[in-house]
């Protein structure tokens, strides 16, 4: 009984100290311009510390056996499972939907190259042709067969070419999309955003390299080196994988996009030809 009373006193004492430390940390974090979410985090750390120090001086647990031990064990597992599932669910969650569309785009060409992909494409084309045939038949029926019969097959293709981004020369937009899809930003900073140390900033690369040279660098990372990035070049930091991961048209688009990057206010390092 005496032990229990002294433990309660101990919990209260440590609890008060923990709260005071937590409040101090929150105040300090606020003074140092930490966002509120980090202030909460610091308070939580203070509470974790409090729990640890309360536990250190907790009275001994009495031995148990038989059914009591089994029930305690099962309850312990339930609590542990709940805490770990809860803990994993507490952190911010990545939304897989963000990735699904991206993966679809990245793998589209490769999927089409597989046997299954070819079969799927054939099915899609057949379906599209059937739909087109149905549409023509309906138009024939509505306006009279003779008049429409003179419409050449593929008249649909005379639609303004502006509706097809690639054909309109909107290569730059597609190139920007490739920049995102291939995650170039992980290693290269652009417009102040993205990787910091692994690769050079790209804001002025269009002024320093010709499109053909950019293409060469993407396909063979050993062909050019950015001045000041000797260590990264020697360590082969730039992955030699894009010739396999990217289609020719994707590389064309990325090159077109990079060629537009001509911001002399950013000190993009000078490229040095290596091969």
């Amino acid at each position: 009984m005496g032990d229990e009373r002294s433990f309660v006193k101990h919990v209260i004492k440590k609890g008060i100290i923990g709260i005071v430390v937590g409040i101090f940390l929150v105040g300090l974090a606020r003074a140092l311009d930490f966002p509120p979410v980090f202030q909460v985090m610091f308070f939580t750390y203070a509470m974790l510390g409090t729990a640890v120090f309360i536990l250190l001086d907790a009275p001994s647990l009495q031995p148990m056996g038989g059914m009591k031990a089994l029930v305690a064990l099962l309850a312990f597992y339930v609590v542990l499972s709940g805490v770990y599932i809860g803990g994993a669910s507490f952190w911010p969650q990545y939304d897989p939907e963000d990735e699904k569309g991206k993966i679809e785009k990245l793998l589209k060409a490769k999927r089409a190259a597989t046997e299954q992909g070819k079969a799927e494409e054939l099915l899609t084309r057949t379906k599209a042709l059937a739909e087109k045939a149905d549409a023509i038949m309906q138009r024939l029926q509505s306006v009279g067969g003779v008049a429409m019969a003179s419409v050449p097959v593929g008249a649909d293709s005379k639609r303004p070419s502006g509706t097809l981004p690639a054909a309109t020369g909107d290569l730059v937009a597609l190139g920007k999309e490739q920049w995102e899809l291939q995650e170039c930003y992980n290693c290269h900073k652009l417009s102040g955003q993205g990787g910091k140390k692994r690769g050079p900033e790209m804001d002025n690369i269009g002024s320093l390299m010709q499109p053909e040279e950019l293409r060469q660098k993407i396909l063979d990372p050993r062909s050019w080196m950015a001045e000041g990035f000797e260590k990264e070049y020697d360590k082969k930091k730039m992955p030699d994988k894009y010739k396999e991961l990217m289609e020719d048209k994707d590389i064309d688009a990325l090159v077109a996009y990079l060629s537009t990057l001509k911001n002399p206010s950013v000190n993009t390092p000078k490229p040095i030809k290596k091969k």
Binding site: Y45, L56, I85, Q93, K110, N186, M238, D240
Partner: protein
């Protein structure tokens, strides 16, 4: 029963071999659709269960044979009994490893037939010949080792220990061999100059494919991880048996076993952050885009969870030492130099700064790290009067706990409370002046602080048992729950990091080489992963608990020949 188990085991190995060989010849078979879980999660569950059983049967024999040798050398029957009891459980779990291994191959073949066929063709010699032969050899040696335990004693003990060493050699080779295809999936060989990766892989030798970037780091990481895991499971066995012990002698023995299991687990755990770091370093070196994917984007919160888990494991293992010291009579006489406290407190701050200037693996950081960590012994021994100022063991441990909490806090502090950098805003990110808290130098220093504190606590414990008297069997009953907690958390963390290792392949079965065209190739949420990891851990726990009850409790009920004399309370 034993013959049935052996036949089952061999049947599975043969079936798996035949199925592997036959399936490798089948062109593009259709994939099965797994109900409820989907194909990827079905493979995930079976693979993770297989790895957990395999980790135990490969990790446990390492310390089992050491324990047997210690028992022989010190003539202390407790070590021999520990070794034999863990081996008993290992034999049961060995069958489960074979069972889940066979199931893994079948599920993989059914759900991802094209990829599995492709992988088997690339490693045909391993899957069809080397691995099955090693598995059969390991089975034979394990059973020999177990069944000759009582026959080969006394003069023949050396021979039995040699058999245990052979078992470990075969086990380690098996691990290294199967790590070849596993690591290949993460980091297939880099293409030679002038060749595309696809062209290169078609002409590469088996060794070129096995000896890839992450093979050796994965071998080392798994080897150390398996010993950690085995140690904590030995602690679990001890906790269960302690809870069910009928007399003081049994309680004294299982109290001792729990302590040794925890010591093995923590001892190996100290190396694990370095092994993990080496593996991620090689992964990032192989392809720089893997690093941000792990640390800053889709998987960043998985690493936050890892930080939380590692922190809890270190807290719990140090708490166990605390509880262990509470039952040592005379512990209050143990003191330590106050320099230790200064180093403990200064370590995370000084090393964050040093590693920022000299990032790992720059050896210049060692010029600060080594003298700093050795300072308590150098100054404490040879530099009076500073070294003569001492503090009680209780104070050292309490300050140690404070620094474990600080270390955890640094490890867990994220760059931003966002799952991917694309969603980052200034309201969710660290202020730029403090962004170093989320970088590797800070994380490394946090890990090193946890390790340093734990080592100091064990040194204190060692001094305590030399100066005082340990009363085995009288440990706080809460310690048994700590041992169970450690095993559960170690398994959970293994599951989490296993998922991470698989997920870093992104939308590829084999990174950059074999895309995963299925609709399930996206990164799952941490919450989804958390549910499944918990489920897998519980299934594994149920099987292990059953194995412990069947092998140890049942044999105890039958009152078999005692492996050693009862341990008197008060023995060291």
């Amino acid at each position: 029963m034993t013959a049935t188990r052996r036949s089952l085991l061999l049947t599975f190995v043969l079936l798996a071999t035949v199925a592997t060989a036959a399936y490798a010849q089948v062109p593009s078979p259709p994939a099965a659709e797994f109900p409820y879980t989907g194909n990827r999660t079905a493979v995930w569950i079976v693979a993770q269960l297989h790895i957990l059983f395999a980790a135990f049967i490969l990790g446990a024999p390492i310390f089992v044979v050491i324990s047997e040798w210690l028992g022989y050398r010190k003539q202390d029957p407790r070590y021999d009994r520990l070794a034999k009891e863990v081996t008993k459980v290992t034999v049961i779990l060995y069958s489960m490893t074979a069972l889940t291994g066979g199931l893994f191959i079948f599920v993989l073949l059914a759900t991802y037939p094209q990829f599995t066929t492709w992988l088997i063709n690339h490693f045909f010699l391993i899957f069809a010949v080397i691995y099955p032969l090693l598995f059969i050899a390991e089975t034979i040696v394990l059973y020999l080792y177990f069944y000759t335990w009582d026959a080969w004693k006394g003069e023949m003990k050396g021979r039995h220990i040699a058999l245990g060493v052979l078992l470990n050699i075969i086990g380690t080779v098996t691990l290294f061999v199967i790590d070849g295809p596993t690591s290949f999936m993460n980091t297939p060989a880099k293409a030679a100059e002038g060749l595309s990766l696809v062209e290169y892989i078609q002409t590469a030798s088996l060794w070129d494919k096995v000896y890839n970037y992450s093979w050796m780091p994965l071998n080392l990481h798994r080897l150390v991880g398996n010993v950690t895991f085995g140690g904590f499971i030995a602690g679990l066995i001890a906790a269960y048996m302690y809870m069910g012990a009928k007399n003081e002698e049994e309680r004294a023995y299982y109290d001792w076993m729990g302590f040794v299991g925890n010591l093995i687990g923590v001892g190996a755990l100290l190396f694990l952050p370095f092994m993990g770091y080496l593996l991620s370093f090689e992964l990032c070196d192989y392809d720089a885009s893997i690093c941000p994917y792990m640390m800053a984007d889709q998987l960043s919160m998985f690493f936050e969870m890892q930080g939380a888990m590692v922190g809890l494991i270190f807290l719990a293992s140090n708490y166990y030492i605390w509880l262990s010291m509470k039952r040592i009579e005379g512990v209050e006489r143990v003191r330590m130099t106050a320099v230790t406290l200064v180093v403990m407190v200064a370590l995370p701050f000084i090393m964050t700064y040093v590693w920022t200037i000299f990032p790992v693996p720059d050896p210049r950081s060692l010029a600060v790290l080594v003298p700093l960590t050795l300072a308590p012994w150098i100054i404490g021994q040879g530099m009076p009067p500073i070294g003569r100022i001492t503090v009680s063991s209780r104070t050292v441990i309490k300050v140690g706990f404070l620094m474990v909490v600080v270390g955890n806090a640094i490890w867990m502090t994220p760059h931003g409370f966002v799952a991917t950098q694309a969603l980052a805003t200034e309201h969710l990110e660290l202020p730029s002046d403090w962004s170093f808290l989320a970088l590797m130098p800070a994380k490394n220093s946090a890990a090193f602080t946890l390790i340093f504190v734990t080592v100091v606590n064990y040194i204190l414990y060692n001094r305590a048992i030399r100066q005082g008297t340990i009363v085995w069997g009288k440990i706080d009953f809460a310690a048994q729950f700590v041992l169970i907690f450690l095993a559960f958390s170690a398994i959970w963390t293994m599951g989490l990091m296993g998922a991470v290792r698989s997920l870093v392949r992104k939308y590829f079965h084999t990174y950059n080489l074999m895309p995963d065209f299925t609709a399930e190739s996206f990164t799952p949420t941490l919450s989804y992963a958390g549910w499944w990891i918990t489920g897998i851990t519980l299934i594994f726990y149920m099987v292990v608990s059953f194995a412990i009850v069947v092998t140890l409790r049942a044999s105890e009920a039958k009152a078999p020949e005692r492996a050693g004399d009862p341990v008197p309370a008060g023995a060291k």
